[in-house]
């Protein structure tokens, strides 16, 4: 069996505004290395909320979250930032590139932040990533000048720059046409099998979900399946 990358134990989450409302109810599951998991469920079932808790950006929950064997409870903002930088790659529904920077810079910034490699090496890695996704020719364009599908590939390249343990996606194909969705899916599939990263993708797209290794179906704050 592969190693466990991420594990949750009895996670509960409440929204208090306007009335207290439990959005996550006793969520316990784990993700192993190389697993490609999709999370599906109706709107408002709590799947995105769960994803942001797993990403360490949302710290307001009960229960425990382990990432790479370490508990995420009671850590400072700076520590969590470092963990996000090093171990988690994030792909959003909207592409969220920094419009002031070039495509290449966008991919490089998390790598420069981690500062594990020299700037030249990071630039080399970034170019490799872009080339492997067939968008190397866009490297020096401004980030806001490229198409939606291209942006999503750039943000995947950015998520990968620090070789994270796990890549999380919040509807990464939700805003793309069929052709681009397929491209993104193929990239994810390739990552899981070749570089051994785990993938956790929240999606509405049943076609996308059926192609993944495991589907977690959520309903009303619980894991149904």
């Amino acid at each position: 069996m592969e190693k466990v990358i991420l594990e949750t134990r009895n996670i509960n989450k409440y929204f208090h505004d306007p009335v207290t409302n439990q959005v996550l109810n006793d969520i316990s599951f784990s993700i192993r290395q190389k697993e490609f998991i999709s999370v599906v469920g109706k709107s408002g079932c709590g799947k995105s909320t769960l994803l942001y808790i797993l990403s360490t950006m949302d710290t307001d929950y009960e229960g425990e979250l382990f990432l790479d064997g370490q508990s995420m409870k009671g850590r400072t903002d700076a520590e969590l930032s470092k963990i996000r930088n090093e171990k988690i790659g994030f792909v959003f529904q909207f592409h969220y590139l920094l419009p002031e920077f070039s495509v290449l810079e966008n991919v490089m910034i998390p790598g420069l932040k981690l500062a594990k490699y020299s700037k030249e090496e990071i630039e080399h890695h970034a170019m490799q990533r872009l080339n492997s996704m067939g968008i190397g020719h866009l490297a020096f364009k401004q980030a806001y000048r490229i198409s939606g599908g291209e942006k999503q590939r750039v943000s995947i390249a950015r998520a990968l720059i620090n070789n994270p343990l796990i890549i999380m996606g919040d509807e990464p194909t939700g805003n793309l046409d069929h052709k681009n969705s397929d491209i993104v899916f193929d990239i994810f599939r390739q990552l899981a099998s070749e570089t051994g990263q785990s993938l956790l993708v929240v999606t509405h797209d049943p076609d996308f979900a059926t192609k993944t290794d495991r589907i977690i179906e959520m309903d009303d704050g619980r894991i149904k399946r």
Binding site: S48, Y52, S55, M57, D58, D77, A78, L80, S81, K82, R84, N85, E86, F90, F92, Q93, F94, Y96, L97, L98, P99, E100, F101, E105, I109, P110, L112, K113, L114, A115, R158, N162, D170
Partner: protein, 419 residues
């Protein structure tokens, strides 16, 4: 590395919104330039106004005052010590104005390390005789060299040459007002009579103007020897010893000391000209108040622009946080943006301030009251430039701090899910 990365992000953010950045920096530039110009010009004027009186005033003046004895004999007697002694109609003793042992005092003062220079003086009340009428006047017998060096005497001699007082026997430099009344020109001879009736013809070698009518109407200058001759006194007769100190602030304390040691009256400049000090202080306060107001306004400009920038950049802040930048990193990005605006704006402000104050210093400013001044006075003091750049940094730091704090508290989940 991390700092360079953050700096690089700042640079890109600033350049992406170049026009906004320039406007923010212009606000600082304007504030600092105005501060420098205002402070330089105001303190220049202040110095000029103070100089009007203070240049010509000794820091300590030693003299003998005509006054009744403080201790009448009856007060000194032991026999009546426990009595209440009332003495009416006390008159001052006929005590000469001469300072006793003046040469020894001067010698002692010159060896004092706190003293910059000493200038002896003899003053004499005279009448200038013009035909039928007599004109009241004061002739100051001065040590021309010392007076030039310590009290800028030459700046106030508008016609003729002060050196002639030494070379021409029985010569006089008349006050402008007095000269006009007597219709005296250089080369003319005027008649002066001392209080004791001695009469001496004096040759006019120059005209003096201090810019204060009361002084210029009455005061004239001659060499010490000439005045001693007019008074019929010996050459150790001096009525005033003027002392200029290295540090003017020591004057009250030293005046007190000299009074005790030399047994003469001593008047310090602070006591003699209290109103000028007050005026200077008030003008300085006004200058700083106006400058700080300008800088605060510039600071609000930066605050607004940074606030706007942060609202525009919410998405970018969320991305940075999602990809591993901590709240502290984000805060530093915005504080650095603010400081970069402050430094560039501030340095440009110093340059414009220097240029503006230089222009002012070339504008002609001629007034009869100030013969030595030809253009507006500007005080180029490096200290103001330091204060200026410090102000620029401090205001921009504070203006940037609060928006930066807000940016650091942005919850990325809220932004990302809010779409």
């Amino acid at each position: 590395m991390q700092f360079l990365l953050i700096l690089n992000i700042c640079k890109t953010l600033l350049l992406a919104r170049l026009r906004q950045s320039v406007i923010a920096a212009t606000g600082v530039t304007f504030g600092i330039a105005m501060f420098i110009t205002l402070v330089s010009f105001m303190t220049g004027l202040n110095k000029l106004l103070d100089g009007l009186i203070l240049n010509r005033t000794p820091h300590i003046r030693l003299y003998n005052e005509i006054k009744p004895m403080e201790n009448q004999p009856v007060n000194l007697s032991k026999e009546y010590a426990d009595h209440i002694n009332i003495i009416r109609s006390v008159k001052p003793k006929d005590r000469p104005l001469q300072i006793y042992n003046s040469l020894a005092i001067i010698k002692a003062l010159k060896t004092d390390s706190r003293v910059l220079g000493v200038a002896p003086k003899v003053t004499a009340q005279v009448f200038f005789n013009i035909g039928e009428t007599d004109l009241n006047g004061v002739i100051n017998g001065i040590d021309v060299q010392a007076e030039k060096k310590l009290f800028a005497f030459n700046d106030y001699v508008i016609k003729g040459n002060s050196h002639d007082l030494l070379t021409v026997a029985n010569s006089i430099i008349l006050g402008k007002g007095a000269a006009e009344k007597m219709l005296a020109k250089i080369g003319d001879v005027v008649q002066a009579t001392s209080a004791k009736g001695e009469r001496l013809p004096l040759k006019v070698v120059g005209i003096f103007q201090q810019g204060i009518a009361d002084i210029d109407n009455v005061n004239s200058y001659a060499s010490i020897l000439t005045v001693q001759k007019l008074l019929g006194e010996s050459n150790n007769y001096l009525t005033d010893i003027q002392v200029k100190l290295k540090d003017m602030n020591l004057a009250p304390q030293l005046a007190h000391q000299y009074q005790k040691i030399f047994r003469v009256d001593a008047l310090d400049i602070q006591t003699a000209n209290a109103q000028f000090q007050t005026g200077t202080n008030v003008r300085n306060i006004i200058t700083y108040a106006v400058s700080i107001t300008l800088l605060v306004v510039a600071g609000f400009g930066i605050y607004n622009i940074l606030n706007m920038m942060i609202y525009e950049k919410m998405d970018s802040i969320a991305i940075l946080k999602a990809t591993g930048f901590s709240g502290r990193d984000v805060k530093w990005i915005f504080i650095l943006i603010s400081l970069i605006i402050g430094i560039t704006g501030g340095i440009l402000g110093l340059m414009f301030g220097y240029i503006l104050s230089s222009i002012i210093s070339y504008i002609p400013f001629e007034t009869a009251a100030l013969p030595a001044i030809k253009t507006y006075p500007v005080n180029f003091n490096i200290l103001y430039y330091f204060i200026g750049i410090l102000f620029a940094l401090a205001t921009t730091y504070i203006a940037g701090f609060f928006p930066a704090q807000k940016a650091s508290e942005v919850d990325p989940v809220e932004i990302i899910r809010g779409k």
